[in-house]
């Protein structure tokens, strides 16, 4: 339980900073810190057991059908990473309190930070790989918010976008890879997958899964060729950089490689891919870091390089290399977080982090300088510091592995080269920032910061020294359990110590330091050499690729999706016709012939009705340009269809059709008032022919299909419903029982859609009422003369008399709905129409005053009532929307039935009334606004270029 709590705490805590911010910055920081501290303490309570070698597991089922469970487990590797994430997180939170200025929104910052923290802890503790993917995506999203925290800076926004594009894109690879892996292993639980190494490596899916997973890991951990996003993410506030790029975000990829090491490593493909990516990244990152003038840029490329080192070690695939990798993860997290924080202090107190403008800070900022020099020396791999130990182990492993070249000399050589650059840029950090003459042109007066800023890095530097001097005491057990967990086996015997005797690694180290210092001594010359070489700018390439993608998708979308409804319909109908005819022509003879079922006789009345339908449809087509006449003709079609439903024994449909017809006519008339009354001639002959042909073909196709179906006997699902409606749903009206019971979930979805549609109408028209289009509406004049009779008395009286009758019919139809034709939907329409009558007779203003109903609330209330019915079933331990019914009897009333479908139907009813009324009310409000001229504040009534300007700003 407490494992899940460790993950959930940061997420829950993320709600607090925004609230606590009102009590001041200290309260905000302390609250945030307490959340992390609590999670950290919980983690530590598990530490003794984990260090003894136990694995703590906890699991709940979430979507077992998909293999998705909420399961967490804590072993050595998880403990190491969770410890780093939460521990360093605590320091970062402290530091941020003093780093952020008053203008920065601290509440938002801490919220993002906690979200990120929770997502990271989720990754390292997840047992289920699908759950892990969820957290993985969450880190991409929350890091986007953190990197772009200073959203007023274009670099911040662009860096955040780039990080999101690269890591999010990598996330897509990872999803595919993990699904393949889970498929190959037959389980999505990591603890199971880790035991199926042979099965997975023998699977044909192994290689694709490996490639995809590595794609995701490399993108996240900034491995070549995805390394370019990390330096651009440096536009973030420094605490964010320190957190994301020392201990967490970029370590997520490393973590996953370590986590999956037992199943994926050990093959040739793994070694080649991982080790070479690591090696290239290590050397390239270190080389570029040497020439970065921005302190954070230098550290960013150094991070890239060190991640490459860890990747290289993981790639080598030997147990000792994995131990070294785990050890270096700890060491890198400590010294790199400290260095980032120190860079932040320098930036904060001196006002610049450009190396060329720094120098001579040793005496001005003694504390900062001391901390910075120790941490940088550890980064360089100097003895008695922790960086030295893991680098020695790396060189040792490189020496032993004959990978890459037969003689085995190339790997050690390249590893040493990486170390050389590493020494050079680390000492450049020390020498060019803290040594040299003091200057008189610092942007601010340099001095040591308040304790809140230097204490966190001091703590980390203390760890750097302690682990460096007493590695076995301070890190031995952790490294042993973590690497054992990473290997899925007992860790090899090793003893962390400073002195290993005179080994090749020591020699390589000495060479690296000597050559590195030489490079620094001759720095101007080396830099000149570098300046002459090519400098491929990743950002330009990235932007180019993105721009090309945008162009491509824009071309694709704009050509397919050009806004012409005719074109969409033509494509849609054309495709349906083509598919239908292809299927028809491809079928054999028997299937093509009409079925042998007896057709019903068509009586004279039916023929008359059919004639009416045909003629009015034809007339609609012929007269469609006169929109009002077309509307009248469609009304006729509606009446005939209603009669058809009655004739074919579908009274429910007939009732619905009648009510819907009326509502539709009113809606369209309201809208038609503002629209041209005549449809202009727009299509040329060619298009008319095309559309006509498509329409005829489509109609013929549907006709043939209907004929084919209706002349055959087929068994349908309706028998089931007819048999079970009464015993299972307690209603004799099958249609209603299907709506509220059998397919209640569909109905629930549909009323939500209906509500959303009404709200969308409201929102769209709100733009016409109050937005930039409002002046245009105000100045619109009706296109023909009006009679003077606004609210004729006859109509008013008639509708008043009708109101109670109509409401009565509504209630009646609602109540009988379960057993006879009717129900909430029809009743809703009936009541809505009864109310609309009053609006029509006495005008909007009058009716609105007498019906002060908030239709928004009505829609929401309806959906909530329906949902509450469904949840009621869940409370009683049945699935959502299970309905129940029983019979009761009362004196006078007699025996009657109560069903739980009734409140559900009330929800439907409320939503329908609310939706219809909201749409009508909003449309009629437009008419009301017409003659109210307000004082003009805009230069012109409707400014079409404003649209373009608004679009342009949005795109930027």
């Amino acid at each position: 339980m407490s494992l899940a709590l460790i993950v959930m705490l940061p997420f829950l805590g993320a709600l607090l900073p925004g609230l606590m911010m009102r009590s001041g910055r200290n309260a905000c920081a302390i609250t945030t810190g307490s959340v992390t501290f609590l999670a950290f303490s919980l983690l530590l309570t598990h530490a003794p057991a984990v260090l003894r070698g136990e694995v703590i597991q906890v699991s709940w089922q979430w979507l077992p059908a998909l293999g998705l469970n909420v399961s967490f487990f804590l072993d050595g590797l998880g403990l190491l990473f969770a410890g780093l994430i939460l521990g360093i997180g605590l320091l970062i939170i402290t530091y941020s309190r003093f780093y952020l200025s008053k203008a920065d929104s601290m509440g938002a910052f801490y919220t993002y930070l906690l979200l990120f923290q929770g997502a990271m802890v989720g990754i390292v503790l997840s047992d289920n790989i699908l759950l892990l993917l969820v957290f993985w995506e969450l880190t991409s999203l929350s890091s986007f918010l953190l990197i772009g925290f200073w959203r007023h800076l274009p670099e911040g926004r662009q860096g955040a976008r780039m990080a999101l594009a690269v890591t999010g894109g990598g996330g897509l690879f990872l999803i595919a890879g993990m699904l393949l892996l889970g498929h190959a292993a037959g389980s999505y639980e990591l603890s199971v997958i880790l035991e199926r190494r042979e099965l997975i490596q023998a699977s044909p899916l192994y290689l694709p899964a490996l490639l995809l997973i590595l794609g995701g890991c490399f993108a996240k951990s900034a491995q070549f060729p995805f390394h370019f996003w990390l330096p651009h993410a440096m536009a973030a506030p420094t605490p964010v950089s320190a957190y994301l790029h020392s201990a967490t975000m970029v370590k997520a990829g490393i973590f996953l490689m370590a986590r999956l090491w037992p199943v994926l490593a050990g093959t040739e493909a793994w070694t080649w891919l991982v080790a070479s990516a690591g090696l290239v990244t290590m050397i390239l990152g270190a080389w570029i870091a040497l020439f970065k003038d921005d302190l954070k840029g230098l550290l960013a490329y150094s991070t890239v390089s060190h991640l490459g080192l860890v990747t290289l070690l993981l790639g080598l695939g030997s147990p000792m290399a994995a131990v070294a990798a785990v050890f270096h993860i700890i060491n890198h997290a400590t010294f790199k977080a400290a260095l980032f924080l120190i860079a932040g202090i320098v930036d904060h107190e001196v006002g610049t982090r450009d190396v060329k403008r720094l120098g001579g800070l040793l005496m001005l900022m003694p504390i900062t300088a001391t901390l910075g020099m120790v941490a940088a020396a550890s980064m360089a791999g100097m003895p008695f510091l922790n960086g030295f130990l893991s680098k020695e182990m790396m060189l040792e492993q490189a020496w032993h592995h004959g990978w890459l070249a037969p003689g085995g000399w190339l790997t050690p050589l390249l590893a040493t080269l990486g170390a050389v650059f590493s020494v050079a840029y680390s000492f450049r950090f020390i020498v060019h920032v803290f040594f040299g003459p003091q200057r008189d042109d610092y942007p601010a007066k340099p001095h040591d910061p308040p304790a809140g800023l230097w204490l966190p890095p001091a703590l980390l530097v203390a760890l750097v020294v302690l682990i460096g001097l007493f590695p076995e005491t301070f890190a031995g057990d952790l490294v042993r359990t973590a690497s054992a967990a990473a290997m899925g086996a007992v860790a090899p015997e090793f003893h962390l110590s400073i002195w290993h005797g005179v080994t090749p690694a020591l020699g390589m180290s000495v060479v690296a330091v000597a050559v590195g210092l030489l490079l620094l001594w001759r720095y101007p010359g080396v830099r000149g050499l570098w300046a002459r070489g090519p400098h491929p700018e990743a950002k330009v390439m990235f932007d180019g690729v993105i721009a090309a993608l945008v162009r491509f998708s824009r071309a694709l979308v704009l050509n397919l999706h050009n806004g012409s409804l005719q074109r969409y319909l033509a494509i849609l109908v054309g495709a349906a016709v083509a598919l239908g005819f292809a299927a028809y022509l491809g079928a054999d003879g028997a299937a093509r012939a009409p079925g042998g079922r007896e057709t019903l006789a068509a009586g004279p009345v039916v023929v008359v009705a059919w004639l009416l339908l045909m003629v009015s449809t034809l007339m609609t087509v012929i007269m469609h340009r006169d929109r009002f006449v077309a509307l009248i003709l469609i009304g006729v079609v509606g009446v005939i269809v209603s009669i058809g439903f009655v004739y074919l024994s579908a009274p429910d449909l007939a009732l619905t059709q009648i009510a819907v017809e009326v509502g539709t006519v009113i809606l369209i008339l309201l809208a038609l008032y503002f629209l041209p009354k005549v449809t202009p001639v727009e299509s040329g002959l060619g298009r008319c022919v095309r559309d006509g042909a498509l329409a005829v073909l489509g109609g013929v196709g549907v006709g043939v299909l209907s004929w084919a179906v209706m002349t055959r006997d087929f068994s349908s699902i309706s028998t089931y419903y007819l048999e079970h409606a009464k015993p299972l749903g307690g209603g004799a009206n099958v249609v209603n029982v299907i709506l509220v019971d059998f397919r209640g979930f569909d109905t629930f979805g549909e009323i939500i859609v209906l509500g959303i549609a009404a709200l969308a109408i409201f929102a769209l028209l709100e733009g016409a009422l109050h937005g930039r289009l409002a002046p245009r509406l105000r100045n619109w004049t009706p296109d023909y003369a009006h009679a003077a009779d606004r609210h004729p008395m006859m109509m008013v009286v008639a509708t008043r008399v009708m109101l109670p009758l109509a409401l009565m019919v509504g209630v009646y139809i609602f109540l009988r709905g379960h057993n006879m034709p009717g129900g909430g939907f029809i009743a809703g329409l009936v009541v809505a129409i009864a109310l609309i009558m009053q609006y029509m007779a006495s005008g909007f203003g009058w009716a609105e005053k007498r019906m002060p109903v908030d239709y928004h609330a009505m829609i929401g209330g309806g959906v909530l009532v329906a949902a509450a019915t469904g949840i009621g079933a869940m409370v009683l331990d049945y699935p959502f929307l299970t309905s129940a019914f029983d019979y009761f009897s009362l004196p006078i009333v007699g025996k009657f039935e109560l069903t739980s479908a009734m409140p559900f139907d009330i929800g439907v009813f409320l939503t329908v009334v609310g939706a219809v009324m909201l749409a009508l009310a909003q449309l009629s409000k437009m008419g009301q606004r017409l003659n109210q001229h307000a004082v003009n504040t805009q230069p012109m009534d409707y400014n079409p270029s404003a649209d373009r300007q608004a679009d342009a700003t949005r795109e930027n």
Binding site: V605, L631, I643, V662, H786, A787, F844
Partner: protein, 89 residues
């Protein structure tokens, strides 16, 4: 006897519907068409009630009721549109 009356009823209503159709098609004015639809709705009510009598069921009665109650609203809406443009002022 009732069967004969029904036959006559169906015949009369059908003829009425055809005549409505004629008026709808020919016009000549908007008002003629609106009234044609209105009358058609009344005939539709008659038709539904006749169906009910023929099949000896009350099941269809509500359809006739709704048509009777709301059929005129469409007509009113059409007329208001012609007269005032805005049907809800």
């Amino acid at each position: 006897m009732i069967q004969l009356a029904l036959y006559f009823g169906f015949f009369a209503v059908s003829v009425a519907l055809l005549l409505n159709l004629w008026r709808l098609a020919v016009g000549p004015k908007l008002m003629n068409r609106i009234l044609a639809v209105d009358t058609m709705v009344i005939n539709a009510i008659a038709l539904i009630v006749l169906f009910g009598i023929q099949y000896r069921t009350t099941m269809y009665f509500e359809s006739a009721l709704l048509l009777a109650m709301f059929g005129f609203i469409s007509t009113v809406a059409y007329c208001r549109f012609v007269l005032r443009g805005d049907i809800i002022e």
